[in-house]
């Protein structure tokens, strides 16, 4: 972990980056912002940890908990909303048995995220599974897709 922090810090110093790009690089590697990263960068850069926490909690992109093995992103933009993204989101949540405040399944297989718009509104509603975009989709299609990925839904559907 320490080695990775060092590499990220080096890049930051070379490119005259800022806290946001530093954290983006960190999340790119780990999938989330480990608490240790904030402690490390705060010490080496002489920036108060509160500034890091301020940025992490302000922007929707950052998270401080690890993501599941598969990432499902449900688009909830207006075009998707008027075409029933709510229903897809609800059935995904109930299928994955997620608690109201949780976005990751207990076995760490799936993380379900909501985003405001992925900008492919012509083929709404959209769900992105592991960076692959599914357009004009339905909950059925996505659940089938999840089945091929394994995980808790495997036997239950």
């Amino acid at each position: 972990m320490l080695e990775t922090f060092k590499t990220i810090e080096e890049k930051y110093r070379q490119n005259e980056g800022n806290i946001i790009s530093l954290l983006q690089d960190t999340q790119e590697v780990f999938g989330y912002i480990p608490r240790e990263a904030i402690d490390y960068f705060s010490t080496t850069l002489g920036v108060a940890p509160s500034r890091f926490f301020g940025v992490v909690t302000f922007y929707a992109q950052f998270r401080m908990k690890p993501t599941g093995r598969h990432k499902i992103t449900a688009c909830c933009g207006t075009a998707c909303h008027v075409r029933g993204s709510d229903r897809i989101l609800n059935s995904l949540r109930s299928e994955l048995k997620l608690d109201p405040d949780e976005d990751t399944t207990k076995d760490g297989e799936f993380t379900l995220e909501q985003v405001n718009c992925v900008g492919a509104c012509s083929i709404a509603p959209i769900v992105v599974v592991d960076k692959k975009v599914y357009g004009k989709t339905t909950s059925d299609k996505i659940l089938k897709e999840l089945r091929t990925l394994g995980g808790p839904t495997h036997d239950e559907i």
Binding site: T78, E95, C117, G119, I123, V133
Partner: protein, 593 residues
């Protein structure tokens, strides 16, 4: 490009990619490589990717240009490629049944493409393609033959106004930037397209990133800025990739960097990724974000044009605004000003989505009527449903009722009816959409995105949302409507930045034009469009039910019981009103009231 007799364009924007564009391109390449194809065909054939041409709903779209004629195919899958190659490219007879229909022609006929003129034609990752259509040559001419003041006068004469939403005259902004005192100045391209349901900027950057870069070079020269930033959403990975690639290639050709185009002018661009905050579309919040801070707005003045990024003069222009610039400088302000209306010149790109037959990206002259857009370009409402309203301007805009379809689409006309042009989202709603739910959706969005700095926005939007939630749950009171109005007006006049000042617009405009729907929710506890979950019930129509069990399997709550081939029943206590049974039933035997 010219040396090829046959050119195959495969649509590979985000829409095209999602529909399998990369696989289709690969199939063309493999098929053309295949041994059976005559060598002379192979040699004179180029297949390449192009950016969005607008009609993503029919993706993957493929053009085959051969012997001077162009054929466009729709819904192409990799397994259809061999036949196209064999019959069309080798056999010279196009595959008629896969060609686009009248829809495709109508979609393009009423459009006037300036910003999008090269999108869907050139390979966005190849600067030579853009060069071949005159790209970067304009910037070179401007830098070597024009004085900065002349450039500003030309842009002023064109009547170009900010395409991000506010519509501030671009030439005037540049002039203020030029006059601002400071040794270091910045030009920032705002590509933080945060409006949900809008994707104009994404499509422009994916389809022709070079036009944006060239626009920035010209703007920088006019203002006297040597540094540029593009602030772009991280949610657009393909656009980010193509932009970075385009900048790198421009730098290699000395279009960016020191002494560009052999002049004494230095200019370079850095890309900063947004981190998912809608408020960062606001100029001062965007500046804070580029500086690495929480993206919170500050009061204006001082305006960014005097004190912006790191307290230096900064001009911030939207993607579409900048992408217009090279075309204006190339063809002249008089040409540009010949499109549009007296006060809204030129064209505007819109993302036409929702319940429309042909959703997509369109570019139309300002002043076109909404009816022309919906009926002629969009092909009307899908599924023979009735149009209810058109939402423009996203969370800052409003809903225009179907009765006002003949309104002209320009800055002034839309403002008059309580909406805005905004950045260009245009969402079509039909009779199945609940307007109260739409208003709630937008206020929920702005409430979540409120940065929390000023009280009216932070608390006002929260209270507005609570009232809207109450109404959609059937717990609304008669007095709520007046309260909504009063509170909305207070939030509008007292909020610090544009986010709060416009957040109540969707509520106010739906209240104005769709009061009967609010009344139905409050008085009759009914949702006429049958959208609001708490106000609808599901029941199986016994006579129609075949007992197929599709609803039973679809129900996530286990609320449906019944024997095979006998009518099923829904337990209202267990029913979570998700509507899964309604969608699963092929015999229309699930009733919704």
């Amino acid at each position: 490009m010219m040396k090829y007799k046959t050119v195959i364009n495969v649509c590979m924007g985000t829409g095209g990619m999602a529909s399998g564009g990369a696989e289709v391109l690969q199939a063309f390449r493999e098929e053309l490589e295949a041994a059976a194809i005559p060598a002379e065909v192979k040699e004179h054939c180029l297949s390449h990717r192009v950016g969005c041409r607008g009609l993503c709903a029919k993706d993957v779209l493929v053009d085959v240009l051969t012997d001077g004629s162009k054929t466009t195919y729709q819904f192409i899958k990799p397994d259809m490629v061999p036949r196209i190659v064999e019959e069309h490219i080798i056999g010279k007879s196009p595959v008629a049944e896969w060609q686009v229909g009248a829809d495709y022609e109508n979609f393009h006929q009423k459009q006037i493409k300036i910003v999008l003129s090269d999108c869907g034609k050139i390979d966005p990752e190849d600067p030579d393609d853009y060069h071949a259509v005159g790209g970067y040559g304009t910037a070179r001419d401007v830098l070597t033959e024009w004085l900065p003041g002349e450039v500003i006068d030309e842009i002023k004469a064109s009547g170009l106004r900010g395409r991000g939403g506010a519509g501030f005259p671009t030439g005037l902004k540049w002039e203020l930037g030029r006059k601002a005192r400071g040794d270091i100045k910045y030009i920032v391209c705002n590509a933080d397209e945060g409006d949900p349901g809008a994707f104009m900027d994404r499509a422009v950057i994916e389809g022709n990133p070079h036009a944006v870069i060239e626009g920035m070079i010209i703007a920088a020269y006019a203002i006297g800025a040597n540094y540029g930033y593009v602030y772009i959403r991280a949610e657009y990975p393909l656009a980010v990739e193509r932009l970075n690639l385009a900048i790198e290639k421009a730098r290699r050709r000395l279009f960016l960097g020191k002494n560009i185009f052999g002049t004494t002018f230095d200019f370079d661009i850095k890309v900063k990724l947004g981190a998912g905050a809608f408020v960062c579309g606001e100029e001062t919040a965007l500046i804070a974000s580029i500086e690495g801070q929480r993206g919170m707005p500050r009061p204006k003045p001082p305006f960014p044009v005097n004190k912006g990024l790191w307290q230096r003069p900064t001009v911030i222009n939207n993607v579409e605004t900048l992408a217009n610039v090279p075309y204006i400088m190339r063809r002249g302000s008089r040409w540009y000003a010949s499109f549009g209306t007296e006060r809204s010149r030129g064209t505007k790109v819109f993302a036409l989505t929702g319940k429309i037959k042909n959703p997509g990206l369109i570019e139309v002259p300002m002043g076109i009527t909404l009816r022309e857009i919906i009926e002629e370009i969009g092909g009307g409402i899908e599924g023979g449903k009735k149009l209810k309203a058109v939402q423009t301007g996203g969370p800052s805009g409003g809903c225009i009722p179907a009765s006002m379809l003949d309104i002209n689409v320009d800055y002034e006309s839309l403002a008059k009816v309580g909406s805005i042009v905004g950045s260009g989202g245009m969402i079509v709603l039909d009779e199945d959409n609940c307007m109260v739910n739409m208003a709630k959706y937008f206020i929920q969005f702005t409430q979540e995105e409120s940065c929390g700095k000023c009280v009216p926005c932070r608390i006002g939007t929260k209270r507005l949302l609570e009232i809207m939630e109450r109404i959609t749950k059937g717990q609304g009171k008669e007095s709520d409507l007046e309260l909504l109005e009063t509170l909305s007006n207070s939030v509008k006049v007292t909020s610090l930045c544009g986010l709060g000042q416009t957040a109540p617009n969707p509520v106010l405009s739906t209240l104005k034009y769709f009061r009967d729907e609010f009344d139905a929710h409050i008085r009759d506890k009914k949702c006429p469009a049958k959208v609001c979950k708490e106000l609808i019930t599901y029941a199986i129509i016994e006579e129609a039910c075949k007992g197929c069990g599709a609803c039973l399997r679809a129900c996530p709550a286990g609320a449906i019981t019944g024997e095979k081939k006998k009518p099923h029943t829904i337990d209202p206590e267990k029913c979570i009103r998700c509507g899964a049974c309604f969608e699963a039933c092929k015999f229309k035997s699930v009733g919704r009231d």
